[in-house]
C-alpha cells in the first residue's frame, strides 16, 4: 500500500517529534501536536521560542531534519505539492505587493495555485467582501492601512479554499480594532466553516478561553490543550498566570 496516500479523514495538521537546529542552536526540540477540524489553536511563545522556525518548516521554506509534518495526511517533505495546496498562510511580514492593486495581488496568488481566472474572480469577490474591503479592490495595496492589508492577506490565504490556515503573529503592529477584527474573523471561520487555524502570538491576551493553546518555550512544548484545561492543570487562575508559571518568565 502506498504509505503516502492519506485517509480521507486525516487531521489538518499532525506534527510529530519535530526537531530542527541551525548549526549548534537547537531551534525546535521534540515538538509534537495535532490540530483537528474546527480547532482554533493559539501557538503561544515569547520571541525566539521557535514559532517562526516551526512555521517555516510547515510551509516548507526548508526541510525539517527530524520528525514529521503531515497536512491532511500528506507528509510535507515527500508530498509538498499536495500538502501546500491545502494550506493557507498569513506571514508575519507584510507580503502584499504595494505597487499592485488589491485585486491584482489576489489574482496573482490565485495564479500561483493554478486557479482558472473566472473561478478566481468569484472567490476573490467573496473573500474580499467578507473582510469588508470590496470598495478598495482596485486601489493600490500601498494606500491601505496596516490593518486593511492584513485583512487582504487573510482573504488571499483563503482563495484556494484551504481547510488549514497558518497565521504567524498576524496582529503585530495593528491597532486594537484591527486586531479584534482578525480574531473574530478567524474565530468565525473555525466555528462556521470547520477551518482549522494555527495562530502564533506572543500576546497572551489574544488567547481566549474558547481556543486551544500550545505553549512553546525555547523550542519545546511545555503545555497544550484547551485553554481551561491548561489553566486548571497548572493550578493557575488565568492563562497568563499559567504561562508565567510554566516558562518562569513574564509574558506580554
Amino acid at each position: 500500500m502506498d504509505r503516502s496516500s492519506p485517509k480521507p479523514e486525516a487531521p489538518p495538521l499532525i506534527v510529530e517529534k519535530l526537531s530542527h537546529a541551525f548549526g549548534r542552536r537547537q531551534a525546535l526540540n521534540d515538538v509534537s501536536f495535532e490540530i483537528n477540524r474546527g480547532d482554533r489553536t493559539m501557538l503561544l511563545g515569547l520571541n525566539g521560542a521557535g514559532k517562526t522556525t516551526l512555521f517555516s518548516l510547515i510551509t516548507r521554506l526548508y526541510n525539517h531534519r527530524g520528525g514529521s509534518i503531515r497536512i491532511f495526511g500528506w507528509e510535507i517533505k515527500r508530498k509538498p505539492s499536495e500538502a501546500l495546496a491545502r494550506l493557507g498562510v498569513v506571514f508575519q511580514l507584510p507580503t502584499l505587493d504595494p505597487d499592485l492593486s488589491v485585486a491584482q495581488n489576489l489574482f496573482y496568488h490565485a495564479a500561483l495555485h493554478g486557479l482558472p481566472r473566472r473561478e478566481a474572480a468569484a472567490r476573490i469577490e467573496r473573500e474580499i467582501e467578507r473582510v469588508g474591503l470590496t470598495d478598495r479592490m482596485h486601489e493600490k495595496a500601498r494606500t491601505l492601512s496596516g490593518g486593511q492589508r492584513r485583512r487582504v492577506e487573510i482573504a488571499r490565504a483563503l482563495i484556494h479554499k484551504p481547510k488549514m490556515l497558518l497565521l504567524d503573529e498576524p496582529t503585530v503592529g495593528l491597532d486594537i480594532a484591527s486586531r479584534q477584527f482578525l480574531l473574530d474573523h478567524v474565530g468565525m471561520l473555525c466555528r462556521e466553516e470547520g477551518l482549522a487555524a494555527l495562530w502564533a502570538t506572543h500576546l497572551i491576551d489574544e488567547v481566549d478561553s474558547a481556543a486551544r493553546v500550545i505553549v512553546l518555550h525555547r523550542g519545546r512544548i511545555l503545555a497544550q490543550g484547551p485553554v481551561p484545561d491548561v489553566v486548571r492543570d497548572t493550578n493557575s487562575a488565568s492563562i497568563r498566570q499559567a504561562f508565567d508559571g510554566l516558562t518562569g518568565e513574564r509574558g506580554e
Partner: protein, 270 residues
C-alpha cells in the same frame, strides 16, 4: 493534482505580475530606458573620436562608436533588469514576495523558471523600445536583424536572470542595489566587450583580456551583436547556454529546501 493547465496558469500569472510591476513603477520604467540612452547619446558621442573601431565581424564596414556599443547597451538593459527583478525579491520586505511565491503548490524549480521567463519578457520588451529609439539616432541594423536578435535576447536574458536568482539564493551581504551595482553589474559590464572590442583590451592588458573572455556577459553581448546583424556566433551561443545551465542548476540548488542556503539562513529574525 497539478496538471499542465495549472502550470500554464501559474506561469502566466507570474509573467503578468512582473509586467504589471514594471508598468506600475513608472520611475523604474523611465530609468531603465534613460540609462542606456544616456550612454548612447552622451558617452558614445564623447568617445566617438577617442576609440577607433576597425572592421571586425559582424560588421562589414567602419562603424561609428555608437553602433558598436548599442548591443552592449542592450546587454546592460538585460543585466539591470535581471538583477533588479530577481534580487529585489530577497530584500523587498525581507523576502516577503519570495515567500508568497514559494508556498505555491507547484514545484519550486518551476516557480524559479517562471520567474526567469517573466524577467526576460520584460527585458526583451525594454530592449526593443531601446532599439526603436536608437533607430532615430542612426543605429539602423538590417530589418531582419530585429527578428534574428530575438532568440539571442531570450537566451542571454535567461542566462542573466538565472545568475540573479543564484545570487539571490546565495548571498546575504548584498543588502541593497548599490551593492549589486558595485560588485556584480559594473565588473561584469566593464570587463566585457560591451564598450570596447576585445582586441583593444588585449593590446592594453593581457590579464584583463582573459577575464573578459571568461565573463559570460561578454558572450551574451556578442551573441546579441552578431544576431542583430543576421549572423550566428556559435562560440558565444555555446558559452551562454553553458552558463545558463550552470547558473540555473545553482539557483535551483540554492532554493532547494533540503540542502540550499535557505536552510542555513533560517526563517529570518524571530
Amino acid at each position: 493534482m497539478m496538471t499542465p493547465v495549472h502550470y500554464y496558469r501559474c506561469l502566466r500569472g507570474i509573467v503578468w505580475r512582473e509586467g504589471l510591476r514594471f508598468v506600475n513603477q513608472r520611475g523604474r520604467f523611465v530609468a531603465a530606458l534613460v540609462r542606456p540612452l544616456v550612454w548612447l547619446v552622451i558617452f558614445a558621442a564623447g568617445f566617438r573620436f577617442v576609440l577607433g573601431v576597425s572592421i571586425i565581424p559582424p560588421y562589414q564596414t567602419y562603424i561609428p562608436y555608437e553602433e558598436y556599443i548599442a548591443p552592449g547597451l542592450i546587454g546592460m538593459i538585460q543585466l539591470f533588469q535581471a538583477m533588479q527583478s530577481t534580487l529585489s525579491m530577497v530584500w523587498d520586505r525581507e523576502m516577503g514576495s519570495m515567500r508568497t511565491l514559494l508556498v505555491s503548490p507547484l514545484p519550486r524549480w518551476f516557480l524559479l523558471v517562471s520567474k526567469m521567463v517573466a524577467t526576460v519578457a520584460v527585458a526583451v520588451l525594454q530592449s526593443y523600445v531601446f532599439l526603436g529609439i536608437a533607430w532615430f539616432w542612426g543605429i539602423q541594423p538590417p530589418p531582419i536583424g530585429y527578428l534574428t536578435v530575438l532568440p539571442a535576447l531570450i537566451l542571454s536574458g535567461m542566462m542573466l536572470s538565472a545568475l540573479g536568482l543564484f545570487i539571490s539564493s546565495a548571498i546575504r551581504q548584498l543588502e541593497n542595489f548599490a551593492g549589486v551595482m558595485n560588485f556584480v553589474i559594473f565588473p561584469m559590464f566593464f570587463a566585457s566587450s560591451a564598450l570596447y572590442p576585445l582586441w583593444t583590451v588585449r593590446e592594453a592588458n593581457q590579464k584583463l583580456y582573459y577575464i573578459c573572455m571568461v565573463n559570460p556577459f561578454t558572450h551574451a553581448v556578442e551573441l546579441v551583436r552578431f544576431a542583430l546583424y543576421e549572423q550566428f556566433n556559435g562560440e558565444a551561443c555555446a558559452v551562454v547556454v553553458g552558463a545558463l545551465v550552470v547558473f540555473m542548476g545553482l539557483a535551483i540548488l540554492g532554493y532547494d529546501p533540503g540542502r540550499g542556503l535557505m536552510v542555513r539562513r533560517g526563517g529570518g529574525p524571530e
